[in-house]
Symmetry: C2
Subunit: 252 residues, 2 copies
């Protein structure tokens, strides 16, 4: 049984906690957060708001925002255990003060209200020694079937990619919803298209899957769309249209 | 039994043809295209490359590119049947020379290699009379469970929204794949995230679902990502980050 302490009580911490609870090989012995009200959801385990009360464990997981990881790494003592952080954005060296450290980055978007199947989530792993990597892999294997070794540079690149395919994509959904709302249309109308756009790339590469007026620089359609948009939406439409045409149009 | 002639042999025509083939109430009596090699896939029906050989039918469907619809509408004679086009981008008036006309717009992205479940595809319908609208609805009900009446202005807005949530989103996937490739990472790593990003908005509004460094204008993370990108990717990253922050950040 691997004993784990989770530092943090946000979305990543909460989802990791639930996934660990389902594993028979992992026991969460404590969840730490400095704000007691954030710990209200972790009723089935010991919680604490004081670093001085941290329990002994095999692994301590910093499931915190990037700046909080850096801050907490300075405060948490080195018990000789393994210390991991869950961030895609910062290097392994953020925990370099500990003897045993690494990264345990689940590549997924976490919202409090969504249940997730952790077994499908790619776990991007790194550690400061082969022995620690094996421990990190064992922990990850307890919750996911998809383990990947990635160095800090690769993880940063993955994080940047994730911003494009998740954060920016979701913002395009927001713009789609806004255009619908302004034209008395239900956003429900777009959902099958959103589903199919995401499903298509399971079978085709995104380059092969590209469709739409931008590929052929169909100015009539493009100008018609621009008329409907506000200035910010126009800027985004024009930049992405030019980017698609530069990539695809020249090959036609 | 409603008899249909399809004008066109591209992705929309092909998928409509397959959907009609499955319906017991619809018979495709002919597929027209001016290029014989494009008709090779339509083996189970009569095909023609000559307008003069068009068969009699209840409904003629212009499943063509926008400019081809406008051109063909001039050439096809008015047999008194119902004439429909499948475009999101052009108005109902494109077929205004016929006595009975309307629009039969399936809001979906069509690729030759993908099988689609038409029953889930929103059919956006319009016609020049109540009687013709009922006929158009009856045809749509033969292949889909999701019928919507939309006027030409709404359809244009839907088409613009579709460009954002489908064409532009797919281009963001392409950029994600490019960043992965340049960093020796498999695009497979991003697929669960892409799936979840699309699934999330079945439950949350896209505004609620927004996550990432742009919301809080996390400059450290943002600058780190920009270092990894080419100039075009940087321009897109900065514009979308500013757009997200302007929408969400001010509310924090």
């Amino acid at each position: 049984m691997t004993q784990v302490v989770i530092l943090g009580a946000g979305n990543v911490a909460t989802h990791l906690y639930r996934a660990f609870q389902k594993s028979e090989e992992i026991e969460v012995v404590q969840v730490y957060n400095h704000r007691p009200e954030k710990l209200a959801n972790f009723t089935e385990t010991f919680t604490t708001t004081a670093i001085s009360e941290l329990k002994e464990a095999d692994i301590y997981i910093f499931a915190l925002k990037d700046d909080a990881i850096l801050k907490m790494a300075n405060i948490v003592p080195d018990f000789g255990a393994l210390y991991l952080h869950t961030s895609g954005g910062i290097g392994i060296d953020a925990l370099g003060k500990f003897r045993n450290y690494g990264v345990f980055y689940p590549l997924q978007t976490f919202s409090a209200k969504r249940e997730l199947d952790f077994s499908e989530i790619p776990m991007c792993l790194e550690a400061n020694s082969e022995k620690n990597l094996q421990k990190t892999k064992k922990l990850a294997a307890g919750i996911s079937e998809k383990l990947f070794e990635t160095n800090s540079k690769q993880r940063k690149a993955l994080h940047a990619s994730a911003v494009f395919v998740c954060n920016f994509t979701n913002h395009l959904y927001t713009i789609g919803a806004d255009i619908c709302q302004k034209n008395d249309l239900s956003f429900e109308l777009l959902k099958p298209l959103i589903r199919e756009t995401a499903s298509k790339i399971e079978q085709l590469s995104p380059e092969e899957a590209q469709t739409g007026p931008a590929i052929r620089n169909d100015r009539g359609t493009i100008e018609g769309h621009l008329e409907l948009l506000n200035q910010n939406q126009k800027n985004i439409y024009e930049l992405l249209t030019a980017s698609i045409y530069n990539l695809h149009g020249k090959k036609l």
